[in-house]
Symmetry: C2
Subunit: 330 residues, 2 copies
């Protein structure tokens, strides 16, 4: 059976490099006490984020390991995207059972991780491998002009609120996986893909620098994450139910509302932008072939942090039952 | 009970900052999707390392949480030290039980983490908190002139081999903790401190840039880690038993040899330097009030990667039984 160092080497070699040539700024890759990266291009800062995925909390023992490898990296790249940063480097620490290390499980995991790394052009620059309950921790590093970084706190009065892609689909996939709902085969496949193979909105995040005033990625539910923007920006928000993505055919309305507003794991970008940016955002949506939904407005005339959802008659809808996002310690 | 975000905020606020003022290069601290750090000083690169600590593998449920918090950060700063890098920033991802999150356990952990961060002047710039078996993952970032970084592969023929401090003491502390040996109270206290409260040799690492040809920190055992230097540098090594730190009074010779050569968790720096550096290293030892032991030589006339240990009569000692370092997947 392979020892720790052999395992590290095998995995890093397998998953490590986005290309056969080392990245230009990578002065020293895996294998020493530290990796060394050159200073970023003139004027750019490093954006840094870290996320830990734990079996039983974020994924199940029976989940497909290749999808899990993809998702482990994708959720971190999503944080870079939400900052408007270009993904560059990642480190990966893993705890695995002895069985994992010797079985094909880990190779499949790294195939998924590597596919995601290659697709988004990031290099794995270091890692750690240890024995323990299956746990993965990625730290991702991206480059961004500091003045253009998309912060949560930058929303302004009268900003439009936008969300990308297909929010709610991942939570619908989870409900399907847990047997809470049945779905037609095509929708089931889409929802499962959204849950297990989320696409970090990297190109969108890069394009939003200079257009959006604030941004984050939806990992804990649209309402909870919008709450972070409203609180950090000291504003209130109003959402219009009629502007939200419609209930997919055959799905229960109440379930969909819960998935859309309270479900996590979407990794879509939720952002605010001035009305003047509408035309550019519509063009961007076409260019990226990615839906961008304008779902509400930020406003200063309300309790900071408060979110209202209005129905077609402009009447408030009670949010208490769907507001609760996914809170690991609730 | 505190929700995840409240917990993160509390812990980051508590452990986060090395000083009341944010660090000069820290453009954006915890609380957004990413932290933002300014480019390093002219010409310096970032050294980056990541380590995961898992309950049952690296520590016990009964371990003192404050010491564990210290050690979680210290072992990562040790990797920066081994590179000759100045510690600057860290991220911390933690998996905890619901009980941990609400009990004083986690506050004690963060007290230890924070004490270490303050002592070495690093800022906690981001983190993640989730539910799961107790696991900690730190990514540490330091600055170093790339040409001066201390790599494993830089050892040269006829280099002296040096090791800092008190190698073997941590493994002795582990043997004592596990009841494998008894120790006199003073030695037991010293050994336990080495095990639970290791001191990353940051000042030594910084001073070794320009003096040492190669360096790493001993986390898996002196022989195993020296093996990394010999293999990476394509050289053989000879150690002299008479030059190794002597068996402490009252300790079994065989146990000590095992602790010294095969034990992990010392986090002392193992480095090679030319004979011309002896005087400077002796002066450095006095200046830092830190023993530096000259224990052998590197040489090109032998099988690359091979390590010999010679007794006082220059006869080889069998290393097979003590060679095996701590291998999580062995």
């Amino acid at each position: 059976m392979a020892g720790e160092f052999a395992l590290i080497e095998r995995l890093l070699n397998q998953a490590g490099v986005a290309s056969a040539m080392p990245a230009p700024g990578l002065l020293l890759g895996p294998g020493d006490d530290c990796a060394l990266i050159a200073p970023p291009e003139n004027g750019t800062a490093w954006a840094i984020t870290t996320d830990m995925l734990v079996e039983g909390t974020h994924f199940l023992a029976t989940d497909d390991p290749e999808n899990l490898g993809w998702k482990t990296l994708a959720v971190n790249l999503s944080d870079l995207a939400a900052m408007g940063a270009k993904p560059r480097y990642v480190t990966l620490a893993v705890a695995l059972s002895a069985d994992d290390a010797s079985s094909g499980w880990v190779d499949q995991f790294f195939r998924g991780f590597s596919t995601c790394a290659q697709q988004f052009g990031v290099d794995l620059i270091g890692g750690d491998t240890t024995r323990g309950p299956r746990t993965f921790c990625v730290t991702a590093i991206g480059s961004v002009q500091p003045g253009q970084a998309l912060r949560r706190s930058g929303a302004q009065d009268q900003d439009d609120i936008w969300i990308s892609g297909n929010p709610g689909l991942a939570a619908l996939g989870l409900a399907y996986k847990l047997g809470t709902t049945t779905l037609a085969p095509t929708l089931a496949a889409l929802a499962s893909k959204a849950l297990h193979r989320p696409l970090p909105r990297v190109a969108l995040g890069l394009a939003l620098t200079g257009l959006a005033h604030s941004c984050l990625d939806v990992s804990d539910g649209l309402l909870q994450d919008l709450g972070h923007i409203t609180t950090a920006s000291g504003l209130a928000a109003t959402l219009h139910q009629a502007a939200l993505p419609a209930t997919p055919t055959g799905v229960n309305d109440a379930l969909w509302q819960h998935c859309l507003l309270g479900g996590g794991d979407d990794y879509e970008l939720l952002f605010t932008a001035p009305a003047a940016a509408r035309e550019a955002l519509t063009a961007l949506s076409s260019q990226l072939d990615l839906p961008l939904h304008r779902i509400g407005q930020m406003h200063a005339d309300g309790t900071a942090g408060r979110i209202n959802l209005l129905d077609a008659q402009q009447q408030p809808i009670d949010l208490a039952s769907i507001r609760q996002g996914y809170d690991h310690f609730a």
